[in-house]
């Protein structure tokens, strides 16, 4: 199903929740809304579901304007971050509930519930009640309820956020497979850049009530059209600094500069904002293009296979992310290596110049 937003604005009182958003989601694909908490992801989903009505602008499904159409008539389904099931229904009745409301025959309901339950590995639990299930199973039940009615549009609002790590990984693997052979457009909201990359598909980055960029997930990641998109789509946060291009050199400060090549080659001389993702700032050089910079270590975190070091570069807070375990003293001056091939350059208006 096609889903188009035309200049949609949503105000609640004096607050602007969504501002002048126009976007055409990709039909029958995984569309990811990526943004921090309160960026407006949930409002966007609620607008799609018809739970909220836009203050101005239009929403179109399959070439029909559905802006004022009631939720019940939209054939959408939704899964929330909290595990929402009817507390006094068995798993079977929970999954069957949307079909019963829609007036399906008993035999039809049974075969559909059975097949969805089988798909989501819920068959042994059909007789139990939601509160007798683990979090993962409760969320599977909610997913089954969303899938069973063969909705044209499936909305997933951070469905994995309340699950523990292992279940989250498991369900994240299954989700795209479950949804790919159904003819439905999926919109999936998440706060985690890594999750967006793992799920693939298309990503819209949401920041302060606006979609800053929409495109294939790897493209948005590699070529963020503005600094805000790069910030949203980076975890740990992307490092930024002012930089000057002068006489074929990229000049960070009096001591650090490197020849303008690769992405920076085509740039004109002048002042730019530079962004570089933390895993291209490492404690050991990873390529011959690496340039050494000095910083004072603030925080050093070790996680299994990598070291994350927060340091001060002048007045700026930067993050370095390196493979392996590197013990670094807090408060010490340390050398970091910046892989200049992966710098992204933005103009002073923070729009992308070169990546």
């Amino acid at each position: 199903m096609t889903l188009v937003f035309k200049n949609v604005t949503k105000r609640v009182g004096a607050d602007v929740h969504i501002f002048d958003t126009s976007v055409e989601f990709v039909e029958n694909e995984f569309n990811i809304l990526l943004g921090t908490t309160l960026a407006g992801k949930t409002t966007l989903l609620q607008l799609m579901a018809g739970l909220e009505v836009p203050t101005s602008g239009e929403i179109w499904f399959n070439g029909n304007n559905v802006t004022g159409v009631a939720t019940q008539k939209r054939n959408v389904s939704m899964v929330h971050q909290q595990f929402i099931n009817y507390p006094h229904f068995s798993v079977y009745d929970n999954i069957a509930s949307p079909l019963r409301v829609a007036g399906f025959s008993k035999a039809d309901i049974e075969s559909r519930v059975d097949s969805v339950a089988n798909l989501l590995k819920l068959t042994p639990m059909l007789k139990r009640r939601p509160n007798e299930l683990s979090g993962g199973q409760q969320q599977r039940t909610a997913l089954a309820r969303a899938l069973v009615k063969d909705a044209d549009l499936v909305l997933l609002d951070e469905p994995l956020a309340n699950l523990d790590y292992k279940l989250r990984e498991e369900l994240r693997d299954e989700l795209p497979k479950l949804l790919s052979d159904r003819k439905c457009t999926v919109v999936y909201a998440t706060t985690e850049p890594t999750e967006a990359l793992l799920l693939g598909g298309y990503t819209a980055t949401v920041h302060e009530g606006q979609i800053t960029q929409f495109g294939k997930t790897p493209d948005v990641y590699r070529r963020p059209t503005d600094l805000e998109t790069a910030r949203v789509f980076s975890d740990p946060p992307i490092n930024t600094t002012k930089i000057i291009r002068k006489d074929g050199l990229m000049v960070l400060d009096e001591e650090v500069s490197w020849p303008a090549q690769g992405a920076a080659d085509g740039l004109a001389d002048g002042a730019y904002m530079m962004g570089i993702r933390p895993h291209f700032v490492t404690v050991q050089p990873t390529s011959e293009n690496a340039v050494a910079i000095q910083g004072r270590v603030i925080v050093s975190e070790l996680s299994g296979s990598e070291s994350v070091v927060h340091f001060k570069l002048g007045d700026l807070s930067w993050v370095s992310q390196s493979h392996g375990i590197h013990a670094i003293d807090i408060g010490a001056d340390a050398t970091f290596y910046l892989d200049t091939r992966h710098c992204i350059y933005f103009g002073e208006n923070e729009k992308l110049m070169a990546a």
């Binding site: 939720t71 019940q72 971050q81 929402i84 507390p87 006094h88 949307p98 409301v101 309820r145």
Partner: protein
Amino acid sequence: MNKKISNQKAWWFVAPVIVLVAFNAVIPLMTVVNYSVQETFGNNVFFWEGVKWFETVLNSERFHASLGRQMMFTSIILLIEVPLGVAIALTMPKKGVWVSVCLVFMAMPLLIPWNVVGAMWNIFALPDIGLLGRAINALGIDYNFTSQPLSAWFTTILMDVWHWTSLVVLLAYAGLSSIPDAYYQAAKIDGAKPWAVFRYIQLPKMKRVLTIAILLRFMDSFMIYTEPFVLTGGGPGNTTTFLSIDLVKIALGQFDLGPAAAMSLVYFLIVLLVSWLFYTLMMKDEAQ
């Protein structure tokens, strides 16, 4: 070898509780038990009577009549207050400035002392000078709560509903506001009708608080004394003489300590039994 460690210090921690419970529960209750098996003619002289007073009370038509009135009264006010309270809670605003306004208005009757409620309604309902009494009579209905049993019942019930429905409202409202918005959204997406939302989301989620509301209203109304005492004094005749009023008449009016004590114990056991039954039945589902 297991060696039992003896440590008697813990008694000091339990002692305050034991003293407290002894003074506010065990000692008064035992005094009543003591009275209930003896007869006295004053001067602190007591004679052993065994279970005689219990037999008297259980066979007494007067006790049966007050118990009947009491059960009737409690059933009626529960049937009115619980659905009404839930209905009001459902119509209350969920957010915004009106929430606190509504809550304050709702809490107001609960803050008024019981005897004041009785006195207020007494004056309010007087057929000659009270606003309510005059109004009802002006409608052409013959109404006088001091002389007609039906009017007296009507007034007593109205007073109790006015005084205590708020409690059910507040509890039900608390239950309702603990339901996340996502439940309503999910129901809307499923296309559930308002009745289904109430039946399958709101009611199950309110169950615990409603159980508590019903229990509190049962216990309080079953022991009601002050308000009807001030309003009708148990009259006209005995028609609004509920159990506590009757008990006070026997114990302090007639000074029949033995029968009054036996009646208190029977009364206490009824409240305990019904509350226990109620709670067990309501929570049976939860335990499964």
